[in-house]
């Protein structure tokens, strides 16, 4: 009712009403970035006014980058599945949860080794993570075959995919609940996780450095795949224009398979790392879903590099806001950022303005 949506085609630039012009300026990419920076600046100012020291802010920012690294693993898979397969996958958070718990299961199968160097985990943890990535990737593809392929053949609306993905999410979560109960748990219960000084009194746990490094490594692998392999290029092509991809002779079935395998594996890695960083809880993925979607929309749907940037921004905003806000509101803050993006630049930072 208060919408200023008109049915007339956009007027040429010369005849813009002032409101339209302001809207257009606000919608530019520069403005988008400026607004984001202003949001972060505002957070810092508010934190400052609340008497939070610069040092603490810096250390929160560092933690935000690490959280962003974890989020990006989920967000990249989510944006690929969204962009390439046109599925708004509300099960993605729960794929992360499932990945984390599978990792826990696999760790339990193996003899517990000594911690590697300064880290809290042994080699068995790395093997378990790789195993979990493989399983979740395959599970994602199987779910597609059982559910989404049928909907695709029926040419269902994107919303129907969204709804079925919620069904999938609930099933995954019920299995986690049944297998491990509702309580939180750790990969290595009771093992000390001391922190070390990074610089300027900023303390991090070695695990967190490992997590960031691994996230960056996996993202680099994704980059290689997308830019330098035939399948990666075909995935980007399908994201660009699925109809044209089919007409060109791209084997869309294989594109679907690889998108799920990559998206699922990254989600599992993200889940395992999130579990290592804090703890494993059946709701962990569900709570991450909102920040994930915020990252994806911020970085433009279908753009994996955008998702990385979006995840870093969301991670930093989440952590710095916790200087003066109950950390429980982290997902809420991410949501607020998303609403801002939707208001001013719904196509995301890297999208083409409509």
């Amino acid at each position: 009712m208060n919408q200023s949506v008109s049915n007339t085609p956009p007027a040429p630039a010369t005849q813009l009403r002032p409101g339209e012009r302001i809207k257009r300026i606000l919608g530019s990419r520069t403005a988008g970035v400026v607004i984001l920076l202003l949001v972060i600046l505002a957070l810092i100012l508010v934190a400052n006014a609340q008497g939070v020291t610069g040092n603490r802010l810096l250390s929160l920012t560092v933690r935000g980058v690490m959280l962003g690294g974890i989020l990006s693993l989920g967000a990249i898979g989510l944006t690929l599945i969204f962009g390439v397969l046109r599925i708004p996958n509300f099960a993605h958070g729960d794929l992360m949860t499932g990945g984390a718990y599978l990792g826990l299961l696999f760790v339990g199968f193996m003899p517990m080794g000594n911690p590697i160097g300064p880290f809290s985990f042994g080699y068995e943890f790395l093997i378990a993570m790789v195993g979990s990535m493989a399983v979740v990737g395959v599970v994602g593809y199987l779910v597609d075959r059982m559910v989404f392929t049928r909907l695709r053949n029926r040419k269902s609306a994107s919303i129907i995919f969204a709804m079925s993905s919620i069904g999938v999410a609930l099933i995954i979560r019920s299995l986690v609940y049944l297998g491990w109960g509702a309580d939180f748990t750790f990969f290595y219960r009771g093992r000390p996780r001391p922190s070390i000084e990074l610089f300027a009194g900023i303390r991090v746990r070695p695990d967190q450095l490992f997590i960031l490094g691994l996230a960056l490594f996996l993202i680099f692998l994704v980059y290689l795949l997308l830019e330098h392999t035939k399948m990666g290029k075909a995935m980007r092509a399908t994201a660009d224009n699925p109809d044209l991809a089919r007409v060109t002779g791209i084997d869309t079935e294989r594109v679907v398979m690889w998108t799920w395998i990559i998206g699922g594996a990254l989600a599992a890695a993200g889940g395992v790392m999130y579990g290592l960083d804090s703890q494993l809880r059946p709701e962990m993925g569900w709570l991450l879903l909102l920040p994930l979607f915020a990252s994806v929309i911020l970085g433009t749907i279908g753009n994996p590099y955008g998702a990385l940037v979006g995840a870093l921004v969301i991670g930093i905003v989440w952590q710095t806001s916790s200087a003066f806000l109950d950390p429980a509101y982290g997902p809420g803050v991410a949501f607020l950022v998303m609403i801002l993006v939707l208001l001013f630049r719904p196509e995301g930072i890297f999208g083409k303005p409509r």
């Binding site: 035939k230 290029k233 075909a234 980007r236 092509a237 994201a239 660009d240 224009n241 109809d243 044209l244 991809a245 089919r246 007409v247 060109t248 002779g249 791209i250 084997d251 869309t252 083409k352």
Partner: protein, 241 residues
């Protein structure tokens, strides 16, 4: 020798019949143009030939194989490629990557094939690292055609190659079409720009209300008084339409 034979196909969307008893043939190394008013079902013919729409009745034979009911990627393997009308490049892929996608069904190195395309379209060679979405309409049309040629097809389908292009560019594109044909590729095209496409084509079909109305050599159709009255007469076929 017949390359493509479309034998009295009838098809449509849902309940709605769009084509009735459409029959057409394309010989090897021939340019055939389908013209007709808007809504006559020209694009539907293309979609049906290319397996995007199943024929209700009739059959489609390509190079001796019955391809009715084949999926697009199988048809591509048989040696037929389609250049759609709009949105016919992958905008965020580079020109080179766009070409590579044209050869997705093939394994092995593509360097030679790409070089061959760059010989036909020198303009694309200069811009091989540029994203296709950032190019002009004419350049995109070249990318799309180049991509279709990557597999060395026996035949390509062009859906309104002149749509949305400036007149000068249209001339260039038509010249390129002739050049492609000279290299031994048969061409079936659908065009709004009836006069130009009939001048180029060896033969033409006039499609109206979903049925073949007239067919014959391109230049003869141009002179046909009925065709002239129906589709060429008062209609100034502007390329920008």
């Amino acid at each position: 020798m017949q390359l493509l034979k479309v034998d009295s196909i009838t098809t449509g969307y849902g309940e709605m019949e769009v084509l009735r008893d459409v029959t057409l043939e394309v010989a090897e190394n021939e340019i055939v143009s389908i013209i007709g008013p808007n809504g006559a079902g020209k694009s539907t013919v293309m979609k049906t030939v290319f397996g995007l729409l199943a024929p209700w009745q009739g059959s489609i034979t390509f190079d001796g194989t019955d391809i009715s009911g084949f999926s697009p990627d199988r048809i591509v393997r048989e040696g037929m490629c389609l250049v759609p009308q709009v949105d016919n490049v992958f905008p965020t892929l580079t020109v080179e990557e766009n070409l590579e996608m044209g050869a997705f069904v093939m394994s092995g190195p593509l360097k030679e094939r790409k070089e061959k395309i760059y010989d036909i379209f020198p303009r694309l060679a200069e811009r091989r690292r540029q994203r296709a979405g950032k190019m002009s309409g004419g350049e995109r049309q070249m990318v799309a055609m180049g991509r279709a040629l990557m597999l060395d097809p026996k035949m390509i389908l062009l859906d309104e190659p002149s749509a949305g292009l400036a007149p000068l560019i249209v001339d260039q594109i038509f010249e390129v079409i002739r050049q492609i044909n000279d290299s031994g590729v048969a061409i079936l095209m659908v065009e709004q720009n009836a006069r130009k496409s009939l001048e180029l084509a060896h033969r033409g079909y006039v499609l109206a209300s979903g049925m073949n109305q007239v067919d014959g050599p391109g230049t003869e159709l141009l002179d046909d008084p009925e065709v002239a009255r129906l589709y060429l007469g008062g209609e100034v076929v502007s390329a920008a339409s």
